[in-house]
């Protein structure tokens, strides 16, 4: 007897996609979400709860989207020489809430390129890194990219000369250009780069029953108060509307129940956090199912696998953690560019530094590396006034600096999401001493950059500064996250990587000996468990992971349900 066909752990972009795909195939699913529900009513007509708002305190200072680090601490260290941990608190805290990371994202949704799936074949190995090819190709995934863009609602245009081929147009045209981008995009072109309007999961026109974006200026790190962002509310609402989906918030998965031989999952155990505290420990409950879908993200999925001793016969669970090594180049203009108050955080990007050129190749050779790759450069604004106020520090200068606003309204920022190479010692594991509020082992991140990331950043940072000065900036300066160098401990963004792009802790592969899941996302050790989040990534690329993880989740669950899209499937164009 089972309670449903599949239990899905996590309601973010991957879990929401799985719920949508499986319910459309006629499956009954239960979605367990450890966080609160601030997104939508869970009963028909599944309307918005109205909790999202333009509120800097609630979203950036008071953990409304979770997780609260007092309940769910995480630890960080750069390597073993730091001891058990260097830092405890917020470590890559993607939202823990119904909708997951999709709620707070500003929705830049680029596809990967063909080469990204074949990094070893096209670029070659690098000492000290575990560069590999994916077991699937871009062609395998392309139909699912198209489906993902349609379901979420992606606004974009086909003007990027480096983009991979696509089988159809974007569902919507781009939204309004941010003013700062109207300065920096032409400057980038003057310097030989190729900026284009960012593919964005925010409606530029009414779409799928949701309104167009109103350019409120509170996009990245905020939930959308008008539901113009499609990820993940569109997917969850459709799943709920099927009548085959139940979402249980405040349900912390703690284990996958299995058959006696351990090769077949039979359900999921979870703590019911809607009960307590004050009445003892939260009760443990169980949902029995034919399949289990893991979609907790590249931090929480390996944490669950490790605490449950599941899927780790290869000793690869948690390893090859990749983040984006961010190069942050900021420039202040002599007038306001309104990047922190109007528009959708980022409207233009360029990816020349992923493709590379002769100068980039020369920089690699000079550093003794066979190649380097940067990442997508986002042309965007700064943060809100509280974040700006905190940077200036106390004193008489404070009000003058706030009116001058060189670090907010006059600031324009390039964020390069630099490719991070896989390394087995960069990993998520269980902290030996730190516990969450319910007694479970906390997750620990061990991560330090490969020299590739440092060389790439050092080469590209000055190029970005030149673009900003060409656009009219009075000054430009570059830093990185995580910070590097003797002053790293004082960096305002903290020691752990600030990027919320985290991938690769349960990589997919052709062989059970060196991967965690197969090319269809199934655990080698327990094939009726599939992973539908970014932990299966084999490379980080220089692109945000969300659209790709949604496409992968759609592919994995369509294969599971026997409804693969035409032109794709296990084995098509496989390398």
């Amino acid at each position: 007897m089972t309670d449903c066909d599949a239990v899905i752990i996590g309601s973010g972009p991957g879990g929401a996609t799985a719920a949508h795909t499986l319910t459309r195939a006629g499956w009954d699913v239960v979605v367990l979400e450890k966080g609160r529900n601030h997104l939508l009513e869970l009963e028909a007509p599944y309307g918005p709860l109205g909790h999202m708002s333009n509120d800097e305190i609630k979203f950036t200072r008071r953990h409304v989207l979770g997780p609260d680090p007092m309940l769910e601490p995480r630890s960080f260290r750069r390597d073993e020489s730091d001891g058990d941990r260097l830092y405890v608190g917020d470590v890559n805290n993607l939202p823990s809430t119904v909708g997951g990371g999709g709620v707070h994202a500003d929705g830049k949704l680029p596809r990967f390129r063909e080469d990204d799936f074949a990094l070893l074949s096209t670029k070659g190995a690098i000492d000290g890194a575990d560069v590999i090819d994916w077991p699937i190709s871009y062609a395998d995934l392309e139909p699912y990219y198209t489906e993902a863009e349609r379901l979420i609602g992606v606004a974009g245009e086909e003007t990027n000369p480096f983009a991979a081929w696509r089988s159809g147009p974007y569902p919507m045209p781009p939204g309004a250009d941010m003013f700062g981008a109207t300065l920096t995009a032409p400057a980038a072109e003057r310097l030989g780069l190729h900026p284009y309007r960012a593919p964005t999961g925010a409606n530029s026109i009414p779409y799928d029953g949701r309104p167009a974006c109103v350019n409120c200026g509170f996009c990245g790190y905020y939930g959308c108060p008008v539901e113009a962002k499609g990820d993940p509310v569109a997917l969850l609402r459709a799943a709920l509307g099927s009548g085959r989906c139940r979402i249980i918030p405040e349900a912390l998965a703690v284990g996958v129940t299995r058959s006696r031989n351990g090769r077949t999952a039979t359900g999921v155990r979870y703590l019911d956090l809607s009960v307590g505290p004050g009445t003892g420990d939260p009760p443990e409950r169980e949902i029995r199912s034919r399949y289990v879908v893991l979609a907790g993200g590249a931090f929480e999925t390996p944490r669950l696998l490790l605490r449950d001793d599941l899927g780790n016969s290869s000793d690869q669970v948690g390893r090859n953690l990749m983040v984006h090594f961010q190069t942050l180049t900021a420039g202040a203009f002599p007038f306001r560019v309104f990047g922190a108050s109007r528009g959708r955080s980022v409207t233009h990007v360029h990816d020349d530094h992923i493709v590379g050129d002769d100068a980039q190749d020369a920089a690699a050779r000079a550093a003794g590396l066979p190649w380097i790759r940067g990442g997508l450069v986002e042309h965007g604004g700064a943060a809100g006034p509280i974040q700006e106020a905190l940077i200036y520090g106390p004193g008489e200068h404070h009000p003058v600096a706030m009116v001058d606003s060189s670090l907010r309204e006059r600031l324009w920022v390039f964020t390069m999401q630099g490719e991070d190479l896989a390394r087995p010692d960069n990993r998520i594991d269980l902290d030996p001493n730190l516990r969450d509020a319910w007694g479970g082992p906390a997750g620990r991140m061990t991560w330090s950059p490969h020299r590739h990331e440092l060389v790439a950043s050092a080469h590209i940072g000055p190029i970005l500064e030149e673009v900003l000065r060409n656009a009219g900036a009075e000054w430009a300066v570059t830093s990185t996250s995580p910070p590097i160098g003797p002053d790293a401990a004082r960096h305002p963004m903290g020691l752990p990587p600030a990027s919320r792009h985290i991938v690769g802790t349960a990589r997919m592969g052709h062989r059970a000996e060196d991967s965690v899941v197969d090319a269809e996302g199934r655990l080698w050790d327990c094939p009726n468990v599939v992973i539908c989040d970014s932990s299966v990534f084999c490379t980080s690329t220089g692109y945000g992971p969300t659209l790709t993880l949604v496409a992968l989740a759609a592919r994995t669950t369509r294969l599971l349900a026997g409804t693969p899209l035409s032109g794709a499937g296990p084995g098509s164009d496989r390398r």
Binding site: H51, N54, V214, C216, I386, H398
Partner: protein, 199 residues
């Protein structure tokens, strides 16, 4: 969401007494002081204390005097730019979230009481140099906390108790929340109109 009514049995006297609040205002005005009046007559940035910093801290430390606790303002809009005022109806916390916030606030309350007592009842009467000397005797961790709260109070939404009438937002030419009206495409792309930026 619920009404921000006082919880049954709550302490209507507040968390900090009058003397402590007077010291707190002076502390916040020292950390984040008022700005000079500009030549063009633009409103000056108020000091974080004078703009309601004491009310912000009082509301935070006394959050659980209300039901729901005044931790997270509601939504989706304040009513200032269309829609109805949803901000003043605070969101419910789960039992576990409430536990974390009670613990956090208990620690902060102790830190404030200790620090305000150390600064002394005459702190508000001191000149800036003397205030800075007293500040240097405090626990640096508290100074960091107080600065963070001063910034939040001055530049956060007025529903949390500070930023009187949005005066700080006005002074830095920030509209604050804008939804659901937002900005038109033209206001986003061409904020200076047809004249372009003031090069």
């Amino acid at each position: 969401m619920g009404d921000p009514s006082r919880a049954e049995g709550s302490n209507n006297e507040g968390i900090l007494d009058h003397a402590e609040r007077r010291t707190l205002v002076a502390l916040f005005d020292t950390l984040v002081p008022p700005g000079p009046v500009s030549d063009d007559g633009s409103p000056a940035v108020p000091g974080a204390g004078a703009a309601g910093g004491d009310r912000y801290v009082e509301a935070l430390l006394g959050a659980f005097e209300f039901d729901p606790p005044r931790i997270w303002a509601g939504g989706p809009s304040s009513g200032r730019h269309g829609g109805e005022d949803g901000f003043s109806s605070f969101l419910e916390l789960s039992g576990w979230e409430a536990r974390a916030w009670r613990e956090r606030i208990t620690g902060w309350t102790e830190q404030y009481r200790t620090a305000l007592a150390k600064l002394g009842v005459d702190f508000a009467d001191l000149d800036p140099g003397e205030r800075r000397a007293r500040l240097s005797t405090l626990d640096p961790a508290f100074c960091e906390l107080a600065f963070e709260h001063a910034c939040e109070s001055l530049y956060g939404d007025p529903v949390y108790g500070g930023n009187d009438d949005g005066r700080a937002w006005t002074a830095i030419d920030f509209r604050g929340d804008t939804a659901p009206a937002g900005w038109t495409d033209a206001e986003v792309t061409h904020p200076y109109g047809s004249n372009g930026p003031p090069w």
